[in-house]
Structures are given as C-alpha cells and as structure tokens.
Symmetry: D2
C-alpha cells in the first residue's frame, strides 16, 4: 500500500481516478519563493491534452489546473502545493459493459487480484489519466529547475516502426508527434492513420535529454540518479523498457569503445548518458523508454470475465491509438521530478 508518493525532498503524492470527481497532486517540499501560477502549469498540461494529434482520443478534457494551496502573492510559500484538475467529460456508461470483464493488456485482472474490488469506470486509478497529476507536478519541478538553468526535453524517436533519423530538437514542437525529424513525422502520421483504420494500436520509443545538470547529483548506492530515473519512467503505465546512454547497445561494445574518454573540456563521447556510478557527471543525461502499444483496441480479443468464463471483447470507447506523443510530456515531467529532488538532496550536503 501507500505507493502513490514519489521523491524524498521534492515529494509528490497523487490522487484521483479517470472518472471520479478529479485528479490532483500534493507537492510537498517545494522551496519557497518560486514564482508559480496556474498558467505555468496549464502550459505543460496543454501539451498532454487529448486532441493534439491523430493518435489521440476524442475525449474532451479542458484539464484546467487549480492551485488550491501553497502559493501566495505569486510565489510558493514552502508549504504543500495542491493542484487539482476536475474531470469534466467522463462518459462512464460506456464502460459499464466491461465492468465484469478483464480487458487484455490492462490492469483489470491484476487490480482485481490485488484489491478484490475495482473502479471499472475508465480504468479507475490505472487509467493513463492519472498522469495529468504527474504533469502538473512536473511543471512545478521545471519552475525550480529553470532557476538553475536545467532544461529537459522529450521527443519521439520511433513510432510504429518508423524511426527518426535526425535529432533536430528545433523541430520537435513543429510536428504533431514531437519528433526531431520532420520527415519521419510525416511517415508516422501515415502509419497511425493506417493502423487506426484497422482498429489496432501502436507503440514507440521516446528519448529524453536533460541539459545543464550539474555534476554531483545522485546518491550511492540505491538512490543512484539512473536508478531513480528508471523507477520514475517505468512507473508510467505504458513503459516496458528504459535505457541510459548506450543502454542496450553497451553490451555490444568493448570496454575501450564504451568508456567515455575525459578531456579538460569534458567527455569526448557520452555512452554513459551523463551518469557515472549513479552520479551525474555534468554531461547531458540521455534516456530512452520503450512504450508499448495502447491495449484498448476495437479488434476482437479473447479474454475471461470475473467468473473465469471465456469471453471476447472489442473495445470501442474513446482512446488513443498510441500513447505517443501525449506520453512525452509525462516522461519529461518524471525526469524533472527526479532532478528537482536530487538537486535539493545535494544542497543538503554542502
């Protein structure tokens, strides 16, 4: 129990279900005197909002953030910042027919095993909608990191087997898939439309880069920076894999190839992904996450119901074809939260 908090000093606790009254987050440990208002949060939330791309659901959620506490006269006070987003367009009735069936690829069956009960409306707490709270918190973490000139950017490097060849971060915000390769983005759109028409879904890979992270963040031996980043990102529902720097390519290299030579100007290469022995080394932090295809598909699937009887299911509700690109800002938020937390932890050392 009690797994809904994240962080040690910059600590967040989220609450809410997909079709309940709302979703929110308490940020406990944000330093005082950080400029904060609803617009700052809204800008991040808007990047996660449904409707941004052909890949996303038709559910209409304005996702309006309300700061309920912790801000006075435009700055944080040091006390808990609670941000709430009300649910406006749930359509719970559409889920009634699945109330006694376990949807394949979803947490229905595992939640049932865990709790013996579950809120079946829109996936309840297991819905990707919970990530709205992560993004709201991420916006606050970013406000803190901004002051230290640390920036984080997540972008799509693969979607439905279409790979981005270029890494042009300038075009990331210029296409609907937050892809650093405009040509690839065009192909991605085609691929999404094609799969959508068949009632199927897609996965992909998101890369996150953090720039300006000072050397020295991360704690030996369990709370290593990469360990905390791995947890942060793997805790996002659709993520099935994480790699830092060379990642799964590292096993293919010799030590003499994988080691990053050190020069007075910095590292010659960055196979380490900016982290050595779990502590940031001053170079860019680079992470990639594998995102599985959305499990909700209209293609018929075999499953069972709560009485263990065989059933088939075809899911016709409103959902994304791919978690990408809406998941990108969620990844960015989780990385921001980890960095904000370790920044504060490191301050305590001095």
């Amino acid at each position: 129990m009690s797994g809904n908090s994240f962080g040690t000093l910059f600590k967040i606790t989220t609450w809410g279900e997909s079709h309940g009254l709302g979703i929110g987050v308490v940020i406990d440990g944000c330093p005082p005197q950080i400029p904060l208002n609803e617009k700052i949060i809204q800008n991040m939330l808007d990047r996660r909002k449904p409707g941004g791309s052909v890949a996303s659901t038709s559910r209409k959620e304005p996702d309006e953030a309300i700061i309920m506490s912790g801000v006075f006269n435009g700055v944080t006070t040091g006390t808990p910042v609670m941000i709430m987003i009300k649910n406006k367009d749930p359509h719970s009735d559409a889920y009634k027919k699945y109330a006694d069936i376990f949807r394949p690829g979803h947490g229905d069956i595992s939640y049932h095993a865990k709790y013996g009960t579950r809120d079946w409306r829109g996936g309840g707490r297991a819905s990707a909608r919970e990530t709205v709270a992560r993004v709201a918190a991420g916006a606050v973490a970013k406000a803190l990191l901004d002051k230290e000139n640390i920036s984080i950017c997540a972008y799509t490097v693969e979607l439905g087997c279409i790979k981005a060849i270029e890494r042009n971060l300038d075009v990331v915000s210029k296409n609907m898939f937050f892809c650093p390769d405009n040509d690839a983005a065009v192909d991605m759109e085609k691929r999404v439309k094609e799969v959508k028409s068949k009632g199927d879904s897609l996965g992909g890979i998101v890369e996150i880069v953090a720039k300006g992270v000072p050397a020295g963040l991360g704690e030996p031996v369990f709370d290593k920076l990469d360990a905390d980043l791995a947890k942060a990102l793997m805790s996002i529902g659709a993520v099935k894999g994480i790699e830092i720097g060379a990642g799964f390519k590292a096993p293919l290299l010799l030590g003499s190839e994988n080691n990053d030579p050190i020069t007075p100007e910095g590292f010659s290469t960055n196979n380490a992904g900016g982290i050595l022995a779990g502590i940031s080394n001053g170079d860019n932090i680079i992470i990639r996450v594998a995102v599985k295809p959305i499990p909700s598909i209209s293609i018929e699937q075999n499953t069972i119901d709560m009485s263990k009887k065989e059933r088939t299911i075809s899911i016709s509700g409103r959902h994304d074809i791919s978690a990408i690109p809406r998941i990108n800002v969620v990844c960015e938020s989780m990385v921001s939260l980890v960095l904000a937390d370790h920044l504060l932890r490191q301050r305590a050392l001095r």
Copy 2:
C-alpha cells in the same frame, strides 16, 4: 544523501568500501521465525565470489558472512539482521597511482564532484564489491520467498555479442557463465579469453525470471512492481538498461500482437512479463538487463587528473573482464529483495 537503504517493509541498509575493514548490510523488517544461518547466506555469496570463471578477477576474497544480530536459535527474531563480510585481500597500494586521476567509465570524477573528497582505494564505495552486501541480503529475502514457493533465477543470455539461443534453465549451473545454452557458453569462453589477451573488456545481457509470484503484488502508481524492479536493477553499477517482458520489442508490435490474451488457464502469451499496470498478474516475471563492459582495462585511455591536466591511464590491477557472470546473482538478489518487500506490503492489505 542517505541513499543506502532499499525497500519499504523488507528494508536493507548497506555499508562499506572496497578496501575498508568490511562490507555489510542491516536487514530491517525480516519477519520472525524464518530459518536462517550463515550457510544459507554463504551459498549465495559463493556464487558471486571472484575466481569462478575466466572472466573474473584474481582478488582472493573468501567472503565469509557473519550474522551479527537478529538470529536466535536458528531463526530470525524479527529484529534487525546484520550480516558482515570482512575485507581480507585489499592490496590498496596498487591504487595509489590512480589517487589523483579520474579513471574513464568509473565514478571517480562524479564522486569527486559530489563530495569534494573520495576514498580512492579500489573504488571505495563505488566498487562492485559493495554488491556483496546485496547478495547477503538477497539470501535472506530468498529464504522468505522460499516459504511462499517463489523462485528467482538469473542467467546470461548474451556476452560479448554471443547470444544464447536456448533457454534451458537446467544447464545454467553447469557452465561457468550461468548460461542456459551450453554451446553459447563455449563460445563465450573463447570470446572472453580473446578479449582478455588484448587487455579489453566485455558486456552482456542477463535475464531474470521469477516463478510462482502470486497475482496482486505491486502498488499503484509510483511503487509499481516493475518500477521498483527497474530501480533495483538499475542501481547495480554496471547496468545501463532494463526491460520487462517484450521490453524494447514492444514498440515493434501492434496492440493486437502485444496484448496477452487471457484464458481460464492463464495468459496465452507473456509480452507483459508478468506485470500489468504495475501489479503482478500471476504469470512469470521476466526482466532483462543490459550490462556495460567493465571500465577497468589495461589498454591506454585518455583522461584528466584532479588538476584538470591531460593524462593517460592503463589499469593493470585485478579486475573482471566482464561483470557477467558474477553480476547474475546480484540481479537475482535485487529481484528477490523487491519481491520480498512487496509480498509484505501486500500482506498488510488483507
């Protein structure tokens, strides 16, 4: 600071440096009346001991575990179990020449940035030797899991670009690389010898399978079972990537291919790797970790010293050519620790 603890209820705290007086672990939260003695721990430690394969260091450490507390009349009492392993064969002098140089691929430079000081003897706290404490704790976790018929096994599926084709777990303990494919193990040995003769090093991939895990372990939304596993494994020094189930293959699949159909007898496939929405689903849990090549190589490398002057370094001390296979039992231990912790967390629910 204070990142040397792991777990919520089955909680461990490790201490010690490579060349200090010893290494150890306090296990706080082990239930009472679990049969435990030094032999149970020693059996696990022996699997990590140097000298088991051509890939490992010539450092001679008997790695004898002493149970200092928490066990009375052959069973745990519920109070902290402290297990200590003294360092017997450090040879610190061999490291003196590197005291002011940052070894590429090592934590020397990041530790220095973090603390402004560091114990340079054998890598200090950043040495892979710290994992001896993880294995000692893992042995205790395994003793607890045994009672629930949960078993965990780690094996080598890739080493120096040699892939295991078979997954015959019966042969894992029969070759020096803990490889489930005896033919591949023969090729791995050749590869290791070849690279060793050149003063270089290798990486690989370890797969871990946990069988008998009941459905329902894992906590939404941050302490998901896979999130905690990812952190646990990424906290091992040499690990640069983690994947669960289909992992980085999942983005290549359609939703209709990736979803595991559910039948009254269980799941037809296991792309989920035994975890849905962060909670175990009763199927085998399957994880793979990418292990980077050992950074200590005798081939000359470019680096800098503490005064930021250019230097070259050729590391001639005693070290492994590859973290595999000694890392395997460390992976097994970390997975055991996560499962033991979540098992206790789930008990509190009932």
Copy 3:
C-alpha cells in the same frame, strides 16, 4: 522540507491554509473494502467545528467534507482517498493589520525565519485550521479500527486549572467540554467566561484512552508505539507535553510500585499505559497531553515587526479562548492514525 506526511503504511499527506481555497488530505494506504462515505467523516468533523462551546471562535465554517477519490460503490478501493474541505468564511482582511507584525506565541516569527515569506492570512499553514484535515483522516482510520473493535476516546481532564475528578466516560458527550466529570464541566464554563471577559485565554489537559488494542503493535526501536504517539500528538500546534501511563508521576515511584504485576487475567495496574518496550501489551493505552493557552488574546502584548521595531499588539479577530474542547477530536484522530498504521505494519509480519 516535505514534513506534511504522516504514517508508514496508512499514510496521510495534508495540504491547505487557513484562508486559502480549502484544506484537505490524501490518505494513501487505506485497505480496500472499508465502508466509507461523507457522513462518516462529517460526524467527526462536526465534533471539531467552531461554535460548539463558549470557548470557541465565532468563525462560521460548515466544514463540509467531499470525498474526491478512492471510494467506489460505498467502499474504499485501496487507491488514495482524497478528502477536501473548502474554506467558506475566511475574513482575511482582519489579518492585514498583522501582516508585518510577529504575533507572540504564534509561528509568524519562526515561519518567517524558515521561509523568508509567509501567508499571513489567518496564520496560513500554521493555523489550527489545518487540523480539519487530520480529523477527516482520523475518521477513515477509525472506520478501519472499528472493524477490529478498537475504540479511542479523548476527554478533557483539566481546563484553566479546573480538574476533572471523575472519569465517567458516559458523560463525555453530554457537556460542552467533553469532560468526564459534569461538575467540573460547570466550573470550566464559569472559568472560560471569566477569562473571556478579560480578553485572555486558557490551556488544559486532554486524556486519550484507546481500548481493544491487541498486544503486539509497535516496532522496536525507534518506531515504538509510544514514540509514534508522542510525535503524532506533539505535532498538534498547541501541545507542549505528552505522558503515557504514569508519565511524569513515574519518577516519583519506586520500581516495585511502578511495575505492573502480571496475572493470568492481565495486568493488576496500568502504570505502563498499555505499552511495554514500545509495544502494546493488550491493556488500555492511556495518554495525556498538555495544551497551552491560545496565543491570540486581545490583551495588549509587546512584540516586534518585520523591521525589528518594537510594537504592541492586541488581537481582536475571531478565535477560541481555549483549544480545548475542539482539540480533543484532533487528539483522538492522531491516536487513531498511529494505531491504524501500526495495525497494518503488524499484519505484514504474519
């Protein structure tokens, strides 16, 4: 930072300021299938509401609890329960005149030292109004304890030097001071009126008894049951002292007098207050807390302002004359939270 959470498994995180949009609590770790609705919470909140006695403020707060998440079909789901109470009647303008003055006995000066900024409206986060969140959470803890036949009752044993002689728990709810001695309650009312007319304030002593607590709750050596109770109660703003069982009388006894003899039927006396070596022994748990007089008084006091200049202050806002009896249900709630948490921790042992 991040001190707004309490508990290990039954964990709460509170947020909100006296004059912000509202106050609330996230309860993370409540087991599933506990019957819960707003009425259960409201009943507890009503006992804390202003206006119940001559000692309390004229601020009109309906204190209506809204369950925002974690409850479905009348029972908890195992996911976070967020309970929110909106602020309806703040009157912040009344506090503007104190915005740059440090009120004696209040946290104004220490908050300013800590954060360099503060929400001066009604005391902000330091206001006793934050306890509304504790009581909402306490109601949920009580719902859990009810199932185990554990009951907790707090009552006034001293107010403004008037001591309750009797301990008749049946009359506690029958007088406005929640006093187990009706005659003393009459004297307390007189005393309160007299002091109120002089613009001064009063303190007192609250006793809390927990019945039906099974032996075995509490964790050696730091998370002892009495240690966690002491923290829980001392964290309430007005509390300046805690004693368990014989408490400050214990130093006056000989060991032969203080030890509680054990018989097959239980303990002959209860100087231990139901706790031995930090673990419940099955007897009633008995605690007393010293409550200081309310610091807001209309009598003129010497103080300084933010520029360190001498000032006088006479506080004429709406406040209680005494934290008792409104604090009683807060004490009851904090004890309930500790017991619920340790109950779950003990379950994990089995």
Copy 4:
C-alpha cells in the same frame, strides 16, 4: 516492521542485541569532510558506560567503538559510517532462568505477543544496551553540530524525588549524577544507596538544553521540530513523558502569561522552549523527560510464565538502580540526531 531507522537526511539504522556479538549503527547521510575518529565517539560512549555511578550495573563493557566504514584520512567521505561495538561481557546464563517468564515492566510479554519468539538473553533487542548505538551516532551528529556552534547538554533535575534546585551547568560534569546542583547530587547519592540496599529502583527527570540552534529548523505540519524531538526521546526505553518549555505547567498559565513577549533583542521569556509552531525560534530549546524506575528489581514480584501460569520473580542479575545518569547522554544523542537531521533538511530549502 522495519522501525530501526531514524531521521530523514541524517539517517541512522541500528542493530544488535544485549548478548549477541555486538551492537552497531549505520549513519547514512552524514555530509563529507566532517573530522571523525574513534576517539570522538569513545568520549561520548564513555559517558554512557556502566560503572560511573553507584546507580549503575556491575557489567564490565569497555564499549570500544570501531569505525568500519565511511571515514578516510580522518574525515567522513559522505558514504555510510558504520560504527560497531562488540559485546564482551554478556553472562547470558544468568538469564536462562527467566527464559520462560515475563519480567514485569519489561518488554518480554509484548515482544512475545508481537513476534511469537524472542531472544531472552539480557532482554535481547529490548535491552537498554541498544542505546550504545544511539550514543555512537549521537557523537557523529554532535561533530556536525559543533561546526555550526550548536551545543546540547543533558542533566539530571530530579532523581528518586530529590529535585535539583539550581541550574548550574558548570557543575554537571563534576558529580556522578550529572546534576546541575551539587547539593542535590549528594542527596541523590544517599537516596540511591538506600533504595539499592532494599533491592528496589528509582526514576527521575532529565532536562536537555540545546543552545545556538538557528531559527527556522523544523517542518510543518507533522515533522515539527518538537514532534520529532518527542518521538526521539520517547523512543528511549525508560521514558514515559516529554515536555517542551513550560510543558505541563503551560495549562496552568493564562495566554497573557504563557506567550513569550518579543523584543528586538529576542524573547523576554521562554515558555515556548525555543519552538513556535514546530519551528525553532532562535531561543534555547528546553525539554524535560520523565524516566521511569528500572523494572529489574530483586524484590519479589507477581507475574506469569509462557504457559500463563502464575509465578513470582526476583531479579538478581546485574542492572542499574536508575537509568539516570547513564540515560542522560542517550537523551543528548537523540536531541543531537534530530537537530542534525533538521539542519540538513533546512539546507535543502535555500
């Protein structure tokens, strides 16, 4: 379970039993570059050692501290500091006769209820001997606080009904009871001898003052500085009550008497005990703890055994007549640990 850790950033985890191989503590989170050696720790331990006064046991324990990790070249490295004290003179046989009996006033009966098993040798983990680890950790905390000119002193203000009238801290180290009143100390010695001759035991009151604590330490709302101090001190076995500042006298005062007037030079009085709204206000922090009489007495007592049969017991082993004065340095250590932790937590804010 897992209640053997204390602190958030300056975090300690203790292990060991009275008659096991040893007792120790892992300090995780001590900043780097703090001068530390075994002599610093030994000086604190020597103040806790048996044999210092007529009130203490005849058990001969040299209590030699060994620093096992975390210190290199005379300073802390930022990694865990493990300090171990071996048990040299246990005499476990003397306890065999009590193996199946519950000693009144001891944790035997509650440990048995909790764990279903217990290490009966010298009280096992419940022995006051566990406090040796607290003192070793306290010495490290003090080394950190010294750098900030924060000093902590504990002294006896009451023993066996003999009260110290004076508060002359200069004489505290000059009499065997660490009493700030030499005349009272003479009376205390008489009282102890008298009670000792009757086979009975005594309790008393210890006062702790912390000077030089900067304003701003402590976290709203649960991790208040006084709340954490209350937990820290109540977690010491023999403590049954805690009061801060005016404490249990506060309920006897009017608000106008209890409030500490603020002047440009500081507070005119210190009823708050240096803490307002849970945050240090810059004044001296003053705490008193009620210490119960030692439960081990040779006078015959009624009790039961593990089969619930009536028994009598007369405890003839080696034990103190009073926990005071050996407990004083334990109190001092716990206060030091809390302050060190909150000092680091506050640093993270800036």
